[in-house]
Symmetry: D2
Subunit: 300 residues, 4 copies
């Protein structure tokens, strides 16, 4: 089959390569000409613009958007407006908020599939996990493409109607934050505990048969191998947080307690409090208030 | 009545003054001669040593220990060994672990009262809150002294048998950690929120009629007045933690969830992690592992 | 001076009484005729409708809304539309979301004061704590009324521009949740700990001089006195949560960690999970998965 | 080589079978004669008693204890006392506290290896992850046995001196609690969220390529397949907790914050509070105290 891919960043390019490898035709567009040329070298057909891409696809167009969440998705859909109809399918493979996907599914003339994509750069070889929301017929139509982009047929599934793919991906990411912090707590204790341990060896031993073995734990093993047992100069500053924030917001809306996910997110915020945590500074001062305990001061 | 006081630190001295003010006789001893001389100037009788103090009290000796928790309490009791009997009463007014108090109550020839003392230096004028454990008769005997040291009759009570006074004080302190952190979170949000607020004015307004008014909130008001709206050079470093740790340990033993108390304690630990939190450094590195997100590095 | 009060529920009526007691004139309206008649008996002037109330106030109208947050506030403002102008002042004393207050301040022809009100029914005698946002001149104009409704001059203050009053009240409530849960944890440990304790006596002793003394702790003391040491038939179900949810949402927005406030809110959600917590049910089943531990089942 | 195995419970028996399969000789003892007979049928040599087992091993005895942690380990070591010497090696493959292992390593005449064992019943086919503490020479001697019991050479490693094996296993279990609860939170949100989802399909999709794929997530998938999408009659009651408690106790000792591990443990405690959570009952009553909110009561 034939697929148009808009957006040739790291993830978009992996999509292109995997779909080409599976023997399908791919038309590509990106605002970066070099990225387009590069994909053309790899076997894709180059388009000059989004209309050109739409035009070069026949009837029953299948288009995969792999652009940053937010305005770029809306901008691409605006350009497709009038060029696609109800027999066409547009896939948003980025990290959009599920409510945006619900809105876009309504506003787009084509059938719309929101597709949560997990697996990171490693997916280039292994394939991704794809959580898809939208009409069943559109999901069925795209199955050959999903088979190629995912780890295989087991690596993708239709979660439900519009928005459900990005909804499940949002929760996936919330869980991801908590898992990372949970492993981190374990290693923090081992790094500060009673024994002088080789944390790469600990990770490796755990990854071979232990209950907590996982891909994230393999990444811990890799991190200790590459950064050293004390993580070298990796700073105590965790960036990101939007999908975790969305998860907690939705959990508030649904009145579902998610204390571990919340705490993992709060640790990120805390790591970025460059002037120190006000709450703790106040607590320290209160200890003087009621107990005349000496207050540690910032050195000048 | 007549009271011997061993230990003339800040808190011991307040005990001496309040008991003298109530018209009782006080005999004092401390290893610091100057502290003894000072108390003598205030109207107490000086003793040269613990045996001398015991000796100078008549029959039915009543002795208040106000020495640091731990070895100093045992050392004082060792010196009293053989000098007191079952008609005498020893009060431990310090921050001892309740299990030590249970042990000491068994090992001491005198009746033993463990007395949790709360109120800090402000208690000099207002009197303390006293949580007392031990035999009822001994508590009754000491009532005039407790009336004087506490805010009055409502400021002291017998909690139960040996250890219960320090047990209730331990839990008091665990709650105290959580209250401080709770106020801290509120002010941290106000300090980083949408409005440019005068936090002393906020505290004062709250302290006059709001549901969350409290003595700790009065101390917050004082802190903002004395340190400034941004707490000036108060460092993000909260010292202490032993009674909070005891509280969490006991809650683990009793299988009672205390997530707020735990988190408040964990914030103290976190504030003292001078090399950064290992857990967060690992989480940051893992974001590279699965997403090739750039890793913030410590500047050299 | 003369004040119109719209809304004669429990809180509105307290406002009326306190303003009358301070010697001011009050015109009242409520959709409940009986409430209006009752307030008229107490010395207020009755109005038949909101337009009637506006009409019966002279120039420079001062109107206090004490209606439930949300649509009722907008409905009252709609009725006032065209009847008030820029020399008039409308106060919203309810629990509105600060963003609604910002919006209303813009949309209303009168000067608009958002007034967070804390203190509950006890405020009838003691007066409230009032956190006010909006124009300085309007706050100044209303000072005699605020003096009457608050605990006195120290019980009210202008926090800042539009919305800041309800913003500070929102954070107040978030802190309130955490304080309640913190005391609750302490008493839960005492109730399940090593000693058979009289929790009313513990509360009373703490309230007299201890560091954690507070109005909420006085309410704990009252609760144990009225419900018994085991809280009798009080159910494990905590209702409410909107202002706490707003606080956490705002903290997410500002990236400020509020783990204690979050956890206190999550406990409320958890107490209302009538079919049990799914997360724990899954954890229990996983223990079978990796360890063949027996899974507790719901009895039929 | 030749190995004595004491304890033929589920885990001990797996050890026997895997060591036999690897071509080694095994002598077995258990207080349950049937278990001994059964292992003998499988090719092990039966011993009548611990002394008989020790006797039937030649010089340089290698003995694996797989008995419940606590007194049974000490009882077995008592029986071995005098029958083993410094050339012999005893392995404790159970879930002992690391401090007990340190003590036993000192008290035992044989070399002592504490061996944390993870993998559960699934280890019968896959092999276990083995975290070993104790003398290097003894670890080296036992390598053929560890190769057989573990998933292979990568599935076991020497962590460090006495106690380190059980120390690392303790932390492993603490992390395990947090991971389980983290997945549980995600699925709780999905089960109560906006879409009607097939949680087995979600798990399967995640397990094929997603960042959070893991063995525990495979067990989630299995749980939904076997119990149904709503987990059927699985109760909200999570048993166990000793190794998690040890982890938190050690983290308190080392002053390392472990909020996610703590919260996961606290959820277990909370799930077992059969009379409801006192803290929340008090919070509910306090809402009446300050706001006259109706208090939900237990139905009679």
């Amino acid at each position: 089959m034939e697929l148009g891919v808009i957006g040739l960043g790291r993830m978009g390019r992996i999509v292109v390569d995997r779909v080409l490898d599976a023997g399908h035709d791919v038309v590509v567009f990106d605002i970066d000409d070099a990225a387009v040329a590069d994909a053309a070298d790899a076997g894709a057909r180059a388009a000059d613009s989004i209309p050109d891409l739409a035009d070069s696809l026949g009837e029953d167009k299948r288009i995969w958007l792999m652009v940053p969440a937010g305005d770029p998705v809306d901008a691409a859909l605006d350009e497709l407006d009038g060029l696609v109809d109800g027999d066409d399918v547009v896939v948003d493979g980025g990290n959009s908020h599920f409510e945006d996907s619900v809105r876009r599914a309504k506003a787009t003339d084509a059938a719309y599939l929101d597709c949560g994509t997990s697996g990171g750069p490693a997916g280039a070889e292994l394939g991704f996990s794809l959580m898809v929301g939208g009409p069943q017929w559109a999901y069925d139509e795209l199955t050959p493409v999903f088979d190629a982009v995912a780890t295989g047929p087991a690596g993708h599934d239709r979660m439900g109607p519009a928005g459900s793919g990005h909804y499940v991906k949002m929760v996936h990411n919330g869980v991801e934050y908590a898992l990372m912090q949970a492993y981190g707590e374990g290693f923090e204790l081992l790094a500060n505990g009673r024994y002088d341990l080789d944390l790469e060896a600990v990770s490796r031993t755990w990854n071979n048969g232990a209950v907590i073995r996982s891909w994230l734990l393999e990444l811990c093993e890799e991190a200790f191998r590459e950064e050293g047992n004390d993580l070298g100069d990796v700073a105590d500053r965790v960036e990101g947080g939007s999908t975790g924030t969305w998860t907690v917001q939705e959990a508030l809306e649904q009145e579902v307690p998610v204390p571990l996910i919340y705490q993992a997110l709060a640790e990120r915020f805390g790591s970025r409090a460059d002037d120190g945590r006000f709450s703790r500074r106040l607590a320290s001062r209160l200890r003087y208030g009621f107990g005349r305990h000496e207050v540690p001061r910032r050195s000048e």
